[in-house]
Amino acid sequence: MLNLMSRLKKSLQKTQSSLTQRMSHIVLKNTIDEDEIEELEEILITADMGVPITMELIDSVRAKVKASKDMTDDIYGFLRESLRTYLPDEWKETNKVKVLLVFGVNGSGKTTTIAKLAKKYKDEGRKVLLAAADTFRAAAVEQLRVWSKRLEIPMIEKADGADPSSVIYEALEGMKARGCDLLIIDTAGRLHTNKNLMDEMSKMKRTIAQHVSSSELRTQMILDATTGNNGLMQARQFDKTIGIDELILAKFDSSAKGGFIFSIARELKLPVKYLGIGEGVDDLLPFSRDDFIEALFER
């Protein structure tokens, strides 16, 4: 298996060199002037960190520089430490999970990520079942069916336009008979502002709750790494209506840096569990807070 860290670094490389260069001259001396503050602002904003966090970090850098005239730590180290405090502690895998409910806005990468997750769990020896609960988008069921065939993992489906909760119900009922111990549910993409579709999602969750305990269900929101400040609004609404256990950041192989996860973590205390780094079934990286920050500010 490829070294995960080096893959992550590779996917980050293209933005790093310039970033590192710009950081290093700030780092070399112990003072900071307005141009450098602005440069810092640019680095953080263009990483989609969002205005509030950027301002917070800049304020704390200013304060730090002011407080210690003979400052020996570099600003880079200070920033890295500050960024760490935004993200929750490392996430620990529990083995109990029986149902994964996957959701997110349209086109964020749900179905592809499900294929990646299904493969990963299958390789770990779990007996996976897929539920095609996106009965709305054209050919969504067929898309998941292609993955189901490729991965040789069974799938429950119903006619297009069927109630997604009824697909989930059938899958939950059928798990035992099929000897499956993990159900992964694909749902239709929905904008967090669409009340009817959010209600539909709550209904799906209630259907699941009738079959498994809350510790056996894990809710995963898939976010597109190229998103901007709307990422926080999305997570806020999905968390409020359904409750999010963990996030997965897809399309991290783009040039976007996904900094909005810091805003989400800061407000909602939600961990990111994986990064999607391609369209292949193995393009899934476990998220590590330190690696993520390290790679972002690598010198």
């Binding site: 263009t46 898309q143 993955w147 190229t226 399309k251």
Partner: protein
Amino acid sequence: MFDSLGDKFNNVFRYIRGTGKMSEKNIDEAVRSVKMALLEADVDYKVVKDFVADVKKRVIGQEVTKNILPEQQFVKIIHEELTEIMGKSNIDLTCANIGTTYLMVVGIQGSGKTTACGKLAFLLQSQKKKVLLVSTDIRRPAAITQLKILAKKANASFFDPEGEKDPCKIVKNVSEYVRHKDYDYVIFDTAGRLELDEPLMKELTQIKIILKPHEILFVADSMMGQSALKVARSFDENIGVDGVILNKLDGDTRGGVALSVKKVLGKPIKFMGLGEKLVDLEVFHPERLASRILGMGDVVSLVEKAKKTVGDKEAEYFEKKIRKANLDFDDFLRQLQYIKKMGSLKDILAMLPGANKLKNIPTDDKQMVHVEAMILSMTPYERQHPHMINPSRRKRIAKGSGCEVNQVNRLLKQFETMKKMMKKVTQGKSKDIMKNMMSRF
């Protein structure tokens, strides 16, 4: 969709208004607030920087004249700069002089290309055009089937690649296929690809060379962050973008992407996606968007406009009249005519904050024409004594203005209500009457 940006601007302007004069310091703060609002709206960092620098340059170089408040000047400058970026008119799809027009739809994964193809086909079919949909997305599972389903729903034809796995060959086969057919449009969907993916960008270039499309449409997700420009630029540099479709505007994104892409690519945004259904595609009007972004709070500019047209004396006269609540139809008519001078009612409403939330206001300019006609059919006596207008007079007015009697009735009722409302409003504060009155419309 752009309300939040509007709210931000609103606060900025309220803040400047509160301070009364435009000192170097409060320009800085105002400019900074504008900058933050734009950044929160995901406008590209560099675009924002240039924008505020331009605004600042213009503000500082400006002489403060006596009659115009400094904040009005400030607002006007932002208005002008933003309008300039957003462009002026909506631009139609490019179309072949004779024969079939080829459209090519490109973008990154998950931006909504396939759905947009379906929507475009639906739109064109409804304009009685004959459309063929072609998918060259051989990579994403079921992408071809997805387009096939959409084609059926849109009543468009669909080209079946019959298992062909090379996008360039599909394009060649289509050229062959359409030769003796009479399609008005052939729309090519392409696989999503990231801006950094060189092999796939090369593939796109090859498709383009073979196809020679009349128009390449770049599909952008309006929820995108700071990488949006890099993406748009990469597509533009590799294959050349002719127009933009801005998707997923039905959410609560502030859509700053529109500003960045327009400013840097200089390519028009032609359509916006407002939902998942085939009907959810609308022609994009840059000027509407610009006034909407500003509209959020451009009261000051409206007042400025009003002042220019009405003149201070008129405003004072109205103020007095309204305060005494003896407004009559002559005044009403006069006011109507001022509004007409200022532009269409719709334009004026677009400049009022929150006006897009109001319902049941006569945004219809036709309605205003009727109102004017009815008042003109009144005798001077009737205009000054509205309460004397009895049923037989109403009938005559209706006849004279070509309206129905119930329209006259409604007008009289509305006029009474307005008078009452104004009395209430003006009991508290007598200042800013003009503004209040304007905002009643």
